[in-house]
């Protein structure tokens, strides 16, 4: 519904081409040398993998559930809708088998967190990336 409204506004403004969805940059600490492909990224964010391919512990950082960047990450990388993802985590949370990644509320917070936590991995709008973090993939 929200998406529909957004689309409607944009169409009304005649800016449809600009809305084209944002590109997502997956970011890690600059010292992190691990290669992260789509599959391992999805496994880390679904709590199925707890380490980077190189062996170091991986701490995933989400953004707020309702943010457009999260919705896009969910559909492009995790290939699940918000509801499906919520159902997925309910199964783990209420059975003591896992907890969803912590969520931060903006690109800036993710970048700040990732730049000071060598084992973390997050995602931001590619336009927000700064030199403080390293981009390991774009979606």
């Amino acid at each position: 519904m929200k998406l529909f409204k957004t689309k409607l506004c944009v169409a009304v403004l005649g800016l449809a081409s600009v809305v084209a969805q944002a590109e997502i940059a997956v970011v890690v600490h600059p010292s992190n040398a691990a290669a992260v492909d789509g599959t391992s990224l999805s496994r880390i964010f679904l709590g199925k993998a707890k380490n980077f391919s190189g062996g170091g512990q991986a701490v995933a950082i989400n953004q707020a559930e309702s943010s457009p960047i999260t919705e896009e990450f969910n559909s492009k990388v995790l290939k699940k809708s918000g509801s499906q993802l919520k159902a997925y985590w309910s199964k783990l949370v209420f059975t003591g088998k896992g907890t969803p990644p912590k969520a931060l509320s903006s690109d800036a917070e993710v970048i700040s967190f990732v730049s000071s936590n060598p084992n973390s991995i997050g995602y931001v709008d590619a336009a927000s990336v700064t030199g403080a973090v390293k981009v390991v993939g774009k979606y």
């Binding site: 509801s83 309910s90 199964k91 209420f94 003591g96 088998k97 907890t99 000071s116 936590n117």
Partner: protein
């Protein structure tokens, strides 16, 4: 350890945000459902004629505290409408992560009979209004003990092995819905394999089972008197009917597909209690569904058969004259008692789930049951329920 390190680093940097220190999480889920028997006279899922909002409504809160170094404590408090919203601890356990792939839980836990056992009460987590009840028929769902879970990968497959050990003391529904029972020395193993869109699961469990018949709702107490009558003369025969420290076993196979919005689920289970009047129960369901964006439609077909093999009655005489009493029929009585436990159910369900909100789902469900109890009638009894419910998580 790593978490403590992170906190220490953040604290040192003077940027410790509150969430790393807030190690207690509160989550919850709730269901509010209304249903009614729309056809037939038998009650089903607790519903009768007339709309009830209580039978399948529930509220739950879960508090989980991370104590660091892999140790955590979790309690889930649940109020069921069917239990007048009395508050109970549904789960209460300590968890310890031995390493990244293995976790031990100790305390009050869910018995992992079925594929959806662990989150039976969390309606939001599955498509249906309720898991297929002919298969999900064992009403006792928690035990006290230990569970160890190991997750690993086999090539492209995710593999989860869980082993449990413990006991249950409470009620089962054999004769009434509240027959006092104990399951001792309960242990079991289940193995789940997942490859992207495909999941398969196998489970085996067993326990030394005792069930008391003291709550038999039958006003004539046919079963209790029958066992007493047969047992007065043939103690061994009575022994083969009562449920006292008899080996109960559970076996199940299941699989699920979630491919291109096509959903398929199936489970087959058997329940048996050796050397007792408890019938051998075999049941299965097959569910197919299709996901249209925020709507999911589903249909389920179910079948269950409770049969009691008679390996003993040939040891008993057909008739026996008891002085000053008359003639009794030990063999026929024994056979009738076994037969009284036989039952066959066919069920069919259609339903729809609508994700109208990011954290809530609306479900409409129509389920028809067709129950045949050969010992009482050659005709089956039909009953169907229509229900509407909202499931949410928070």
């Amino acid at each position: 350890m790593k978490k403590i390190l992170t906190v220490a680093i953040l604290a040192a940097l003077g940027t410790a945000p509150s969430y790393t220190l807030a190690d207690t999480r509160i989550n919850g889920f709730a269901s509010v459902a209304a249903g009614s028997v729309v056809d037939g006279d038998e009650s089903l899922f607790g519903y009768d004629k007339g709309v009830s909002f209580k039978e399948e409504s529930l509220f739950a809160l879960q508090v989980s505290s991370d104590l660091g170094e892999g140790l955590s404590a979790t309690a889930q408090i649940l109020s069921r409408g069917s239990n007048d919203f009395a508050t109970e601890f549904e789960w209460a356990y300590l968890s310890y992560e031995i390493n990244d792939s293995t976790q031990i839980n100790a305390g009050k836990l869910r018995i992992p009979f079925y594929r959806y056992s662990d989150f039976l009460d969390v309606g939001y987590a599955y498509t249906w209004a309720r898991p297929p009840q002919t298969v999900y028929s064992l009403v006792f769902s928690t035990f006290d003990g230990l569970s160890i879970v190991n997750n690993h990968t086999i090539g492209d497959w995710d593999s989860t092995v869980q082993a449990i050990y413990g006991s249950y003391e409470g009620e089962v529904d054999l004769l009434s819905e509240e027959d006092p029972a104990t399951l001792d020395n309960m242990f079991g193993v289940n193995w789940t394999l997942t490859y992207d869109w495909f999941t398969a699961r196998a489970v085996y469990m067993q326990a030394n089972t005792s069930i008391s018949f003291e709550n038999n709702p039958d006003p004539d107490q046919t079963l209790n008197n029958g066992i007493a009558l047969v047992g007065g003369i043939y103690p061994e025969a009575a022994d083969s009917l009562t449920v006292e420290d008899d080996l109960g076993s559970f076996f199940g196979l299941g699989f699920s597909v979630d491919y291109n919005n096509i959903l398929i689920d199936a489970e087959f289970t058997t329940v048996e209690v050796e050397n007792s009047i408890v019938a051998k129960q075999e049941q299965y369901y097959v569910s197919v569904g299709y996901r249209f964006d925020t709507f999911t439609v589903y249909a389920i077909t179910e079948h269950s058969e409770d049969t009691n093999e008679d390996t003993y009655s040939s040891n008993l005489p057909v008739t026996l004259d008891i002085p000053n009493y008359g003639t009794v029929y030990p063999q026929g009585t024994y056979q009738a008692l076994l037969a009284s436990q036989e039952e066959e159910i066919d069920a069919f369900t259609v339903g729809v789930r609508y994700n109208f909100h990011p954290a809530a789902a609306l479900k409409f469900d129509y389920t028809a049951f067709d129950t045949l109890v050969p010992s009482t009638s050659s005709e089956s009894v039909e009953s169907s329920v229509f229900s509407v419910g909202v499931d949410l998580v928070f």
